[in-house]
């Protein structure tokens, strides 16, 4: 192919790279992306689009419920498969009120179960719901559940059957906890997917779960995933919350977790290079 005589053989790239790319080791934030003019270069642009597509898929992917149910039963835990009043994803996304309550069949199933087990007193109702990321639940719910099972076993706390809920939001654990007459509830569910974290799991803890509890009565442990909060630290913090809630007979904003946060926030921190 003929070369245009005025164009040198090695044309420099139209992208201006940033000389501070080494800083990318310090954060997963999208820094030092370079620029085309002052705009985002093609490669960074396409990487963003890919991440957004993956996060969108995570929102709309449905939970592989049978597989998870099988895995939970394999842990030797009884299981209740439930569904919220939100019939599908569309309704789930637009009607948070429906995602917070059980559908009629599930409510009946739970009532029936409770009637057959009237002598059971549960310390902890355990709920797993798809939330906004089925991917998060598929990746992280089982290992966290396993650790909770072990630790609660050694503390002598009794666990309810695992309630596995489709199209569920956080407050559905109030409904379930109340019907099972559990002293406390824990729900694991997929958080809203971030671009760089489509699989982040959240945990919410409520003392004396009742329909109508507000978010101020819950404690949240979030960002449970590979590059976020580890499973052992998650369960360590949960046990701290349970003990403190047990002692003070409440959960939520009044339960400050002053003791555990410094441990979390300073672990593995790097020195700030901008300061001496």
């Amino acid at each position: 192919m003929a070369q245009h005589p005025e164009i040198p053989l090695s044309v420099s790239s139209p992208v201006t790279k940033n000389p501070w790319q080494a800083l990318r080791q310090l954060t997963s934030a999208r820094i030092a992306l370079g620029r085309a003019g002052t705009s985002l270069p093609t490669q960074a642009q396409l990487e963003f689009q890919l991440a957004h597509a993956a996060a969108r898929d995570a929102v709309h992917q449905s939970l592989a419920i049978e597989l998870l149910a099988k895995q939970i039963r394999a842990l030797g835990l009884p299981l209740l498969q439930l569904h919220s009043a939100a019939s599908d994803r569309q309704s789930y996304l637009q009607r948070p009120d429906l995602g917070r309550q059980l559908d009629a069949a599930s409510a009946q199933q739970l009532e029936h179960y409770a009637q057959q087990h009237t002598n059971q007193n549960y310390d902890l109702a355990l709920v797993i719901a798809d939330g906004l990321s089925a991917l998060a639940v598929e990746r992280h719910a089982l290992p966290v559940l396993k650790l909770i099972q072990e630790r609660c076993g050694s503390e002598g706390w009794s666990l309810s059957p695992i309630a596995l809920v489709e199209q569920g939001r956080v407050a559905i654990a109030d409904d379930i906890g109340q019907r099972l007459k559990a002293r406390m509830s824990v729900i694991l569910l997929g958080e809203r997917p971030g671009l760089s974290s489509p699989d982040s799991l959240g945990l919410y803890f409520t003392y004396n779960p009742q329909i109508g509890c507000t978010d101020a009565q819950r404690n949240c442990i979030s960002n449970i995933r590979q590059d976020g909060l580890s499973y052992p630290l998650t369960v360590h913090r949960l046990l701290g919350l349970i003990r403190e809630a047990d002692r003070r007979q409440c959960s939520g904003v009044t339960l400050k977790d002053d003791t555990q946060l410094p441990q979390l926030s300073t672990s593995g921190h790097h020195k700030n290079f901008l300061l001496p």
Partner: protein, 462 residues
Amino acid sequence: MSGYTQTLAGQRWHFKDLKEVMAKASPLRSGDQLAGIAAQTDVERVAAQMTLAELPLNTFLHQALIPYEQDEVTRLILDTHNAAAFAPVSHLTVGDFRNWLLCEQADEASLKALASGLTPEMVAAVSKLMRVQDLVLVAQKIRVVTQFRNTLGLRGHLATRLQPNHPTDDPAGIAASLLDGLLYGNGDAVIGINPATDNPSAIRDLLDMLDAIRQRYQIPTQSCVLTHITTTLQAIEQGAPVDLVFQSIAGTEAANASFGVNLALLQEGYEAGLSLKRGTLGQNLMYFETGQGSALSANAHHGLDQQSCEARAYAVARQFKPLLVNSVVGFIGPEYLYNGKQIIRAGLEDHFCAKLLGVPMGCDICYTNHAEADQDDMDTLLTLLGTAGVNFIMGVPGADDIMLNYQSTSFHDALYLRQLLGLAPAPEFADWLAQQEILQQQGQRLTLSQSLPKLFAPALNH
């Protein structure tokens, strides 16, 4: 029969009260549908808009949408209303107020003088009759200028909040994003971190770090750690270097209570901030965030539509002479603003209403991954708000906030608006960028440094 009626093509529409007229006149959004107060059909919506257009503007001075006795925000709005400032438009209907705003006599000076005569309900009402181009055209007439260590809101300028969040507040991770932002010319509105925890000692560490960086590199801007106002008050008591006092606010007393605040507490925070006398050019030091849907989400909306609730939050904001206010428009999710179309309209309404009320409005142009929105929608809102004269936008590395898990605007996005519309950073900050050979801007021509600016070379090379 009480209430309001409108007959269209032989069909009679009835609205039982002013609140219902306002809700049904609102352009469609999922939050009003969720609350069960949205118009059922498009024709019903227009019937409500026609009803609203015929109402005298002063209706809102006589009929409180949320009762005076029940709500301190209503009391604030009515008790601080400036009748003299209202006089030029007091004879108009809502419909004619729209006409008036679009005419020449509504200019920068007359709109500035009018601000304290307007109530949030009046501006919310007129916005419901406006198209996107009206919201842009009227808002761009208005400038709300504020100062702390630099000057924000001047015509021909656009500022950015540099938002270097990190999921575990790692100092080096924050510093990396912060430096990236500065080198892309961002950070004049504020360098503001959303902390991963509200642990008081961690907050103190972040405040100390941001202040040390600002002083070491002599950056003419202000810093903020966006934590609850009670935590900031505690930090101030302990001698922490607090520039801006942050709080999320909403438009009803009950919604503010769900945030753990009230007017007295905001006043206490404001006074504590003032007592530090840290502003060099001015003492605007409050930073508020708002967003449509927050009142409904706290079940604290009193049956009022989400856009009217939002506008009422600006009355709360202006009471404390803030440096910065922004709606975090798409953060709340699709239950309240379902898709790009709803987010775009809401962002423009929020900016318009706040500016008419004299509030220094910016916008967190953003969306979550469960909303039906994408980068094209954000570019549309960004471009529209740029032309509407928005005070500031966010600067997040690559538009991806790795702590809050949502997409906002990037450092590059700000440069796009600068280039497209010739909008410069705050003058003091622009001078610093030029002196440090980071960014030189002449109109629409931007020159960014190819190499590492001298100021930061030592930090990166050791």
